[in-house]
Every structure is written in structure tokens, then in C-alpha cells.
Amino acid sequence: MSSLVCQRQSLRFRARSYMAFAITPRAPVVDWLADLDANLERSKGFFAGHPAVLDLSGVNLRAPAIAHLVAALEERNIRVLGIEGVDPATAEPGLPPVLRGGRGTPGLEAGERATAAVTGRLAPQRQSLASLLIEDPVRSGQSIVFTEGDVTVLGSVGSGAEIVAGGSIHVYGTLRGRAMAGVNGNARARIFCHRVEAELLAIDSYYKTADDIEDSLRRGPAQAWLEGSTLKISAMQ
Amino acid sequence: MNLLKLWQRRSAPVARERLQLLLAHERSARNQPDLLGVLREEILDVIRRHVAFEPDKVQIKMDRGRSVSTLEFEIEIPNGIRISMARAS
């Protein structure tokens, strides 16, 4: 045994939050898998690269069945990083860890793609860089969700409309609605607009509502970014 | 110009009359649902017993009045003879 006394560095534990898809199977699982396959047909890369959490509260499965389901999902390229909605006693070494305390997040529904939400004329640009370009104003009540990257709007975003992006948001017009950037945990995402009259600005779940946005910033070009856990907004020249 | 207003009847009383009439008819229609429909079918049945005609060649006009309502049937009967019946109630 070595007589050297090793200086140990204290282990540092940090918490990280990630946004994951919550997959909720329903009985009968076979039918549900068929539906899933149909959905995957329509939106091929939908789960690609995104971790998924398996919410088993809607079904009654024992460990072997759960393992079988996880394997079935892996075959479909869906990586399960955890399971929830089960008795922790069901957990077994081979299975993904049981998670607790998951919180829902808006705006990620299978089948509701950003391009379909706007107009039929928009050609999906999913093959190229992860960036969505919207050439028309976004009207009140419309919701643009694009978790793969940046969203650029050539026009204004109406009061009551919302843009949700995995990357940054660029509005070449007046932003009157809600803009939520960096929703996948990308704290470096920013929001840019020609005029800020927004109802809500958020980057990676840190947000400011209209009340918190200084009057002096309104009516001119502005950008928002995250400094630590503070959302900062400043005028741009 | 104000000249127009002098001889033009004040519009609110006109509105009131129209509403009273209309609502009276709508309320009674609620109690006797589809009186018109019943009347129409019975009258057409009677005519059908005597003469053949096509259902879409029937024009029905109505004018609901204060004391008298007019229900007018215009039916085109083959050979081009038009029979027009007016029935007051």
C-alpha cells in the first residue's frame, strides 16, 4: 500500500435540467406502438437526438414488460433516459433509472410542427441547417415551435402569438407576443427584435413579462440574453 | 342636410313597431313550432289530390303583418297553367 496520501478533490455535484420528451404509452401497448410508428412515418427525425422519458403511469407493466418496451423504443431510435410513473420497487439494474419530480413544459406536441402551424406555402427546411424562416407576420393565436434551432421572422409577431425555439429568435419587426428561446437548455440563445413590445421574453426558462421590461427599451431595436440566471435586455443600435 | 330630417319619420318608433311585430310572431312560433311547415304540407297535399306538380316548382312567400299575415303559394302546373292562391289568416 502506498504511503502517499492522495489529496482528493471534493466531488462537486451540480444540478442540471434538461428538457426531454415525455412518452406516455397507453394500453394496449401494441396498438400504441403502432400509432407511434405511424407518427414516426410522418415526422421522421422527430425524436432524433432528443432524450426521452418514459411515463408509465397510464399502463400497468412489470419489469420484464418495461424492459421489452424500452428495447422496442431503442429499435426506433428513441433513447430512454429515465422512467417515471412507476413504483420505485419495480426498478431493476437493467432498466433506466426511475425519475421523480418531472415538470411539464409547453409547446412540444408530436405532429404539431412549426411549418404546419403557419401556412401551407412554407417549405420545410429540415434537411439543411437547423433554422426556420417565416416570411409572413405571425398572427395572434399562432404558435411557432421549432426546437431544432433558430427561428427568424420577417415581419411582426402579434399580441397573443408565440415563438418557441431551441436556438435564438430573430424578429425583423415588432415583437408583441411571447418569445421563448433556448428551450432545450441553451442558455446562450438570444432574442433579437426591431421593436420590443413583448408580452413575455424567456431564455432557457428564465423569463420576464411585459411589466418587467423597462419602458425606455420599448419602441426600438432590442436584444435579450441570459447572464447567469438573469434575463437581460438592452437596446441595440 | 337637415331638411331631410324634417320629413323623414323618426326612426326609433319605426324600429319599435318592427320589433313588436317580429317578436310577437317569433314567440308564437315557439309555441306552435313550424306552423308554416304544417300548413304548407297540408295545402300541397290538397292540391296534389287534384293536380300533379313538381315540388321545386312551388314558390312560397310570406308577409307577417300586425293583424293580418299573408301566405302566398305560387305553383307551376304542367301545361304552363299557373295557379296562384292567396290565403289570409
Binding site: P137, R139 | L36, Q59, M62
Partner: protein, 271 residues
Amino acid sequence: MAHVLVVTSGKGGVGKTTSTAALGAALAHDGDRVVVVDFDVGLRNLDLVLGAERRVVFDVISVINGVAKLSQALIRDKRLENLFLLPASQTRDKDALTEEGVAAVIAELRDRFDWIICDSPAGIERGATLAMRHADSAIIVTNPEVSSVRDSDRIIGLLDSKTVKAERGERVDKHLLITRYHPARAARGEMLSIDDVLEILLTPLLGIIPESEEVLRASNVGSPVTLNNPLSAPARAYFDAARRLRGEEIAMHVPNESKGLFGKLFGRKAA
């Protein structure tokens, strides 16, 4: 070539039915064959504004259900021979309006009329979406007031997603009609300006209709304002709007306080 026009707004009480009647009468007066269709099932109003309430026998639902033919349901205006009304049902509710039924009625109307003007109910539910479904163009009626403007924005979004044209990848032509404009309030800065509204809604302006007692008077007596008092300010504004619908270029008149004088003339278009 028939043109289907929807008059819509989102917000209630801004002047859809008044405008439908006024524009329909203006177009018919200038020679086109016009039918105005009331889509407000259960709360019909178009018959009242046109003064035809005593003559309603059949309605859109009767036609859809096969109880009556279209020709039996259409009510001809007593003053304008080119103007017809297809009333809404007062006793049924909006579920009686089916998509196929409406499509069939509109198709049949296209054969007989130059203009088919659909008076939409307020809201964004079934009645409103059915009214806009087959539209070639839309008139979005807006008051210079915050809720009306936001609701109009919502409706514009729906026009780009819930219509047959949008589903085919084409555009419904949109026109903004500002109603209940009050020059004094605008001058005092107590009413949203035309520019404010245009900047938010980004839709070409069809016309500006001033707030006026004439509109109430016309509705009281059951005659569209363009027929009842064609020289009044709102009527003249509606006539101009009708001409613009036909493609004529008419300088936009912004109503002002001075009676009898024409206000400043601008050529006004939104980007």
C-alpha cells in the same frame, strides 16, 4: 365570374352585418347580382338590417336539409332587384350547418351571382370558420380599439389556415375595413389612429367608415345605410369601398369633423 367574400372580425358588435348589408346594396345598386348570406345560426340579424324579417320562410339550413330549394329560400330585396338574401335559421343551432352542406350551397350560388357575401358570426368557432371556408376574399371589420384589433389579427391568422384556399397553398385576399371611426376622438389622441391599426394588422385598407347616427337610423327602419341615405358620410364611404372591391383606385378619404366638406385626400395603402 362569381366572387365569394366573407365579412368577418372576430370581435362582436363592430359592424359586420351593417357592412355586409351596406356593401351588398352598394354593389347591387351599381348593377352586379349580389346575394348576402347570414351565417349566424340561431341569432340571425341580416334579415332585420335589410328589413326582410317579415318575409323569411326558408333559410340556409332548410336548403342544406333539402327541405327547400335555393330558389325558394332566397328573398329578393324589394328596393333593389339585384340584391338577394339567404337568411340564417333562428331556431336551429350552428351544428346544423355542415361543411358539405355549406360547400354545396356556395357552389350553387356561384352559378347565379356575381358576389356572394357571407356575413360571419363573431368568434372563432364553427360558424365563423364555416363562413370563411370558401372565401376568395375577406373583409376584416375592425374598430380602432384594442380588443377589436387583436381579435382581427387572430381572424387574419385563421384566414391563412382554415380556408380551402389556404389549404391549397393560395392566399385569401384580405381587406381591412375600419368602422366606427370618430374623428374628434382620434384628433384628441383618445382613439387608435388609422396608422396604428394598419401598422399592427398589416392589411390593405378598404375603407374608413365614420361613426354616425345614420347607421342606427338605417337599421331602425330596415334599410342598408347605402340605400337609406346614400349621401351620408358612412354611405359614401361604403360606396367607395364597394368600388375599390371592384378594382377601382379611389383615394382614401379620412373622415373629419367638418360637415359637408371633403377631408384631406390621401392615397393610402398598407405595405
